[in-house]
Amino acid sequence: MSSLELRGITVRYGRFTAVENVDLLVPEGTVTGLVGGSGSGKSTLGKAVVGLAPITAGQVLVDGGDLGRRRGRGPVQLVFQNPYASLDPRMTVGAAVAEALPRTGRAARSTEVARYLELVGIDPSRAVLTPDALSGGQRQRVALARALAARPGVLIADEITSALDVSVQGAVLNLLRELQRELGFAMLFISHNLAVVRYLSDQVAVMDEGRLVECGPTDRVLRQPEHATTRTLLACVPTISPAEEAS
Amino acid sequence: MTTALTRNPWAGFALRRCWRLLVSLAVLVTASFAMIHLIPGDPVRAALGTTASPALVAAEKHSLGLDQPLLSQYVTFLGNLFRGRLGESISTQLPVSQIISSRLPATLEIAVPAFVLILLTAIPLGMSAAVLTKDGRRRRGELAFTTATGLLGAVPEYLLAVGLVAAFAVALPIFPAASQGGPSSYVLPVLSLTVIPAAVLSRIVRVETLRVLGEDYMRTARAKRLPARLHYLRHALPNLLTSSLTLGGMLFTSLLAGTVLIENVFAWPGLGATIVTAITQKDYPLVQGIVLVYGSASLLITFAVDMALGLADPQSTIRGS
């Protein structure tokens, strides 16, 4: 069980400021949804937390301790948007998961790999396959298993369902929710889809042009949005049933 | 770079390219200066032969400035370079700049026409090959084109030159076999320089055309039901030109190098023939001068192609580093 706290995070690329002075607390064992339009800096923020984007100013604290510039297996793991790009095409599924495990003996390793694959609903006998034998949804499950195998205290999910087909998306969301409740990690769930964020999150944070413009309990933010950006995002959610639109 | 210029992507791009050109030129100048110092042993003794008297070697070293400290040699070298002085040839005692200016025109006289001919043949050839064989049509034509250009690509230019001489100067004496003379003496050297790069470039153009034809915007153009002329010339040509030239840019600098071999086959009185003699005679100041000329010419060509592409395709200025 860990919490994630961001203090004054700023990310600059040359003159361009992608993220500006963001403070955010993801309490332990809860899910925070991070929403915003494209270019709002939400993905950059997620990457900055795991060290894939250069932090110009600010601190990332996990359980109150500064993550700093430490190397090695971090307590924060990230699952990427595109499962077709996030697995090495030349590496078997099992090797990909094993890479995340702490160094142990061979036998222990393969039982651990099997355990994590089973956890995400992949038949452990598929560990010998390379990713191209798997569908998008299965790949995303493997990516999730790899991230979980590193035993993270905090998981960042960066648009993990937007590259998936609708029928698969639901299954991955169910799995993610179930695992989060079971393993109790804190999660920063980044998405442009408010409905998906609403379904998973305890708290919602809204970003616009690199700044955090609103943050609060899911219900409150979506029912009584305070910031114009949140209202725009809410207005832009397409709905299926005409009845909803009327209400 | 924090000037206001960088706000305009094109100006920023131009600035970066100019900077790179300057750095590359500096590297070239330094390398050509360093050349004589990198040669193992005593280069002057090697150049003058083992029979030369020590006094002569010392005198030559003095006239080359090799008895000076390295730094002051470099400063003198740079100073002379700015005044257009490249020293004296060891073997002929003539100023290097004079030799170069008397030899350079002959090289340009075959390189420039070859350059123009390559462009004029490769682009229409590659494009028509692509259009005629796209979507798996004319499989045999495609095979013939790729085989022919592939075979030509495997032939070294000088060998083609020898072959052309054997065919059109020896077997059928239509053109002179060697040396510069009337207009007919230019035919074989220019052809030898043109045919192979044109074949290679037309292959590139064909592949690029096929790529461009598969792009989404060409599907948009198809949806507009335009006549073929507009479809290919207006929509496809500009896009494939930029990408083909990016890939073909290297071809033009290697064309310059190709002249070295071709000039030797045809005993052409250009720079290429001169540098080979200079290397065998260990005439280092002359080699140095010609390396400088070839090197800066290649850098300028690359620079010009880059700038032209930057103007033609503004997106490349954002991509390009």
Binding site: F80, V166 | A154, L159, A177, T220, I279
Partner: protein, 640 residues
């Protein structure tokens, strides 16, 4: 998103693919050529060495004869023997120089990833400067430094290959180092050297091997060139270039002797090229396809009779549309649909359902090698099979606005040419119309924007420009294929509003293709749901929530969380995955994933039949719908 690469055929190991490629005619040729070269290189000097060196003053500069196949040189030595003997030295020097070039290139190429940012940049910049010089200049420079002779030339040519190899490796490693899977490994704390050995090198091995063979061919040519200039191999040693140099003066006397070493160079170069082709094929880019299946027999089937309910005066009338590929896969398997004048119809399905190909078939834009067949396909009274000229009555909007406008042309030009070509407008008229249309889709300061090129537009503006392009004429149908998928949520709404507005203003019909039910629900009146190349349900938008009859449609609706979904319930899921276009096609395609499936579903395919008013469903067990029994095919009943 539906346009991601579909899971490809499981690929086997490189070694396996290499072995398979070696069995093709190309592979056999390459292998034979390599063996012949090796044998000549090993045995040549042993068998012909003595003859090649024997000086015969009685036979100086002879032409070809029985005794001397290619004649003799100025010392009376047999040229044919010398060409054969020269093979070993030529190959040795080439391979040594290649090793220097490839190893040096790999080291310099991978260095920026392993070294820190600053040192890495320095290496990249140095290589960037070096590649600008032509290789031969490099060789001449280095030959001057290393001295004339074979060792010097070998180092010179090897080192001269390093920059281009390094550049290639750098580009490849940079793109792999920027990939998500390397980022994931970094987050997991995998060290630099393990990163290189486990992720980078395996992924660049194949293109590097390909480049190495090409480099070897180039090096062979450079070497012969250098020897030809007299700067490479020195007498009494000789390689092919040296022989060529010696024989050039005799070209008037014996041209064959002058060309023979050249032919050897070319043939060897081609052998290296062939080996490269084998690598390229084995690495999958040009992999030999598994035996192509004969075209599907479906086409020979008699088309099903036209439905009697076919609406008179519909704008689009399609019956039994099929899109197949030469390998026998069929992506669209018998789609029938009508679009009324001014109607807004949605076409929904997951990736691979064939919805985009259906739309492209309507616009006659199915890419090669797809083949379109249909019992009937008419648009506005024209039979599209005989007269595909749609002119300006059909407008297309594509998924990716970043790619669907020509980057080299000004936006105004791309619009105005439609009017010039199809409406016979003058240049000025067409330009004015283009500006007018751009402002009609609410592009601000349209006159100025018309003079810009697409890269100066934002994504949303590009999509508007594409819509404006369709409005240059008077479209009767707008086909929009995932028009908002690549756009930001806020922009998505604006584009959908614009499409709705275009429809009301021009009275054009709209066919909106999307994977997102909500997007379709917002703009359309009627929805067609596609699964595995067929339409499985046709229903009014209002019925989507709660009223759908097909289990697949119901599952699709239930799988997406909406703003009213209870966060404490599980989302509906569909087990399994959709069939591939090549899979066996028996019974209902959805049966393997369907909870309601029975034996009948697995053996007999349900046809799309109507019930209620204007609703159709292809299912044996539709939810909540009562199908009139007599509509069901009798033979299907018997089979079950």
């Amino acid at each position: 998103m539906p346009h991601l690469p579909s899971p490809s055929v499981p690929s086997s190991s490189l070694l396996h693919r290499l072995r398979r490629t070696l069995r093709t005619p190309l592979g056999v040729t390459a292998l034979t050529a390599c063996i012949v070269l090796a044998v000549v290189a090993v045995l040549g000097p042993m068998l012909f060495g003595a003859e090649a060196d024997r000086v015969d003053t009685n036979a100086i500069d002879q032409g070809s004869s029985m005794a001397h196949l290619l004649g003799t040189d100025d010392l009376g030595r047999d040229i044919a023997a010398r060409v054969v003997v020269a093979t070993r030295l030529s190959l040795e020097l080439t391979l040594q120089a290649t090793v220097i070039g490839v190893v040096g290139g790999l080291l310099l190429g991978v260095a920026p990833t392993v070294l820190g940012r600053r040192l890495g940049r320095l290496v990249t910049a140095t290589v960037g400067v070096l590649v600008a010089f032509p290789g031969l200049l490099f060789v001449l420079f280095l030959a001057t430094v290393f001295g004339v002779g074979s060792t010097g030339a070998m180092f010179a040519i090897g080192v001269a290959t390093v920059p281009s190899m390094a550049r290639l490796v750098q580009n490849m490693t940079a793109s792999i180092a920027g990939s998500d899977y390397v980022a994931a490994a970094r987050i997991l704390g995998v060290g630099r050297f393990r990163l290189v050995s486990r992720h980078l090198l395996p992924n660049i091995a194949e293109p590097s091997a390909l480049f190495a063979t090409q480099a070897a061919a180039g090096i062979l040519l450079s070497f012969s060139g250098l020897s030809f200039l007299g700067l490479g191999v020195q007498a009494p040693q000789y390689d092919w270039g040296r022989l060529l140099n010696e024989q050039l003066n005799g070209i008037y006397v014996n041209p064959v002797a002058a060309l023979a070493p050249g032919v050897a160079v070319v043939l060897t170069g081609l052998t290296f090229g062939l080996v490269g082709e084998v690598f390229a094929k084995a690495s999958g880019r040009r992999a030999p396809l598994s035996r192509q299946q004969p075209p599907s027999e479906q086409s020979a089937m008699a088309p099903a009779p036209l439905p009697d309910e076919s609406a008179e005066g519909a704008l689009v009338q399609v019956h039994d549309l099929r899109v197949g590929f030469p390998d026998g896969r069929e992506a669209v398997r018998g789609v029938s649909l009508t679009i009324g004048h001014g109607e807004a119809l949605g076409l929904v399905g997951e990736s691979g359902s064939g919805k985009s190909l259906t739309a492209l078939a309507l616009a006659d834009l199915v890419p090669h090698p797809g083949r379109v067949q249909a019992a009937e396909i008419t648009f506005d009274g024209h039979d599209l099979r005989s007269d595909p000229h749609l002119g300006t009555t059909l407008a297309m909007v594509f998924q990716d606005p970043m790619a669907s406008l020509n980057p080299a042309l000004r936006v105004g030009r791309q619009l105005s040419e439609v009017a010039e070509v199809h409406l016979g407008s003058t240049r000025a008229q067409a330009r004015a119309r283009a500006v007018d249309r751009l402002s009609a889709v609410r592009i601000p300061s349209a006159a100025r924007r018309a003079r810009q090129r697409p890269h100066e537009y934002s994504g949303g503006m590009r999509q508007r420009a594409v819509i404006a392009m369709g409005l240059m004429g008077e479209p009767k149908l707008v086909i929009a294929d995932e028009p908002t998928t690549a756009l930001d949520v806020t922009v998505q709404q604006q584009v959908l509003d614009l499409l709705a507005e275009v429809r009301t203003e021009t009275g054009a019909a709209l066919l909106l293709i999307s994977h997102d039910l909500a997007v379709v629900a917002q703009v359309c009146e009627r929805v067609l749901v596609m699964y595995a190349g067929r339409i499985v349900e046709d229903l009014p938008v209002a019925e989507l929530v709660g009223g759908a009859a097909h289990p697949y449609t119901r599952a699709l609706v239930g799988a997406i969380p909406t703003m009213t979904t209870d966060p404490n319930t599980e989302l509906a899921t569909i087990p399994g995955r959709p069939p591939e276009p090549g899979d066996a096609d028996q019974g209902c395609s959805f049966a393997p994933r369907c909870a309601l499936a029975t034996d009948r579903c697995r053996s007999t395919r349900p046809e799309l039949v109507g019930f209620d008013t204007g609703r159709r469903v292809a299912c044996w067990h539709p939810v909540g719908a009562v199908l009139p029994l007599d509509v069901r095919p009798v033979d299907a009943e018997a089979a079950s």
